[in-house]
Amino acid sequence: MNGRAVRALIRKDVLVELRGREVVPSMAVFVGAAFVLFRFGLGGTELAGGTRAATGMLWVAIVFTALVGLSRAFAHEREGRTWDGLLAAPVDRALFWFARTCSTFLFLVAVQVLALPAFWLFFLQEQAGPSYPVLVAAVLLADVGIACLGSLLAGLASSVRAREVLLPALYLPFSIPLVLTAVRVTTDTIPPQTSGLETLERLGFLALYDTVFALLGWALFEYVVED
């Protein structure tokens, strides 16, 4: 892998975001608004369904928040026709997917640094603290999966006119297994916790999901961006 090219592509995404402030602020506002709506729309901290319902809302909000960011992935390249410059460069086109996956992951983590404490404050403030190592592992593994899947599908959707419709239509069904598992693992982190083995199996599933979509992204992106 051409490390210099990957670093340059990630730097480009980060600089464009720092200056344009298009993605991360929109994601932060979206997830914040979702939490407010859930809290006041569904009965405050005393949710029917308890912890499981709360963690379900967390991951639904995160998956939709990622969608907000992914809808702008590759938008600069398509709108400014910079795609042609990238596609003409002598690097494996899978690098464009990999770099976009890394920047999507970074943007998602940046939003979650604010969103996760806000979530606990809104919905689980009366619960004992979670198991932080497991929670961090679950969030990072789920984020990698979202970024791998989302970057592949965003690349595919960016080449069609109805990309705003196509991206969610493809991304949401594929994210269902990830959301279900992430919800269970996150619930596991909150006392009373389930057995460590079950949690480990679920983390293993998230790692498997990441691996599958990482391999698919790497192998298919060349064809996804072909005009």
């Binding site: 210099r4 090219a5 340059a8 592509l9 600069h76 400014g80 910079t82 042609d84 002598p90 072909e226």
Partner: protein, 210 residues
Amino acid sequence: MRSPEAILCESLARRFGERDALAGVDLSVAEGETVLITGPNGAGKTTLLRILATVLRPSSGRVAVAGRDLPAGAPDVRRSVGYAGHDALAYPDLTARENLELYAALYDVPDGRVDEELDRVGLDGRRGDRTAELSRGMLQRLALARIGLHRPSIVLLDEPTAGLDADGRDVLRGFLAEPGRTILAATHEPEWFAGLENRLVAMDAGRVTA
């Protein structure tokens, strides 16, 4: 299959949906030749250049660049080709220097060449400016700096004179006059290239007509 010409197209066609952008182009450009393509809007000039730059796949026919058939040989071809499209292919939120640093990394050339190229095209005083703040002519100069980074042997230019002022045209003339390059340029101003070109090719409705 290897081909001795720098650029060779045989019955090259490209369809977009129901529309034939290229409908059987036959073209041969020898190494070191400078060839101008003229023709009305929609003649297929840009599509031809994008296929030669390996950005687009042909629908049918044969196309070879730098001795390699496309699309199979595209990874080898890309290092030999410099492509300046109708747009500058620059990120507006990045500075001129940052844009070139990105391409220097993609082409794996030393970062030091970025400043050399900016100096060469007369953008040394604007290297820290975002490209959104640059004029059309300056963006054209930046595109010349970008394709100069990796010293390509084959240069594909789409409307290179568009928006260029007198100084910018001098820069372009100097670039075109450098020996050892094969140049294929689409233009609506063939008269400006007097003395630089070897041959003029006319296109219309996706075909070479003269």
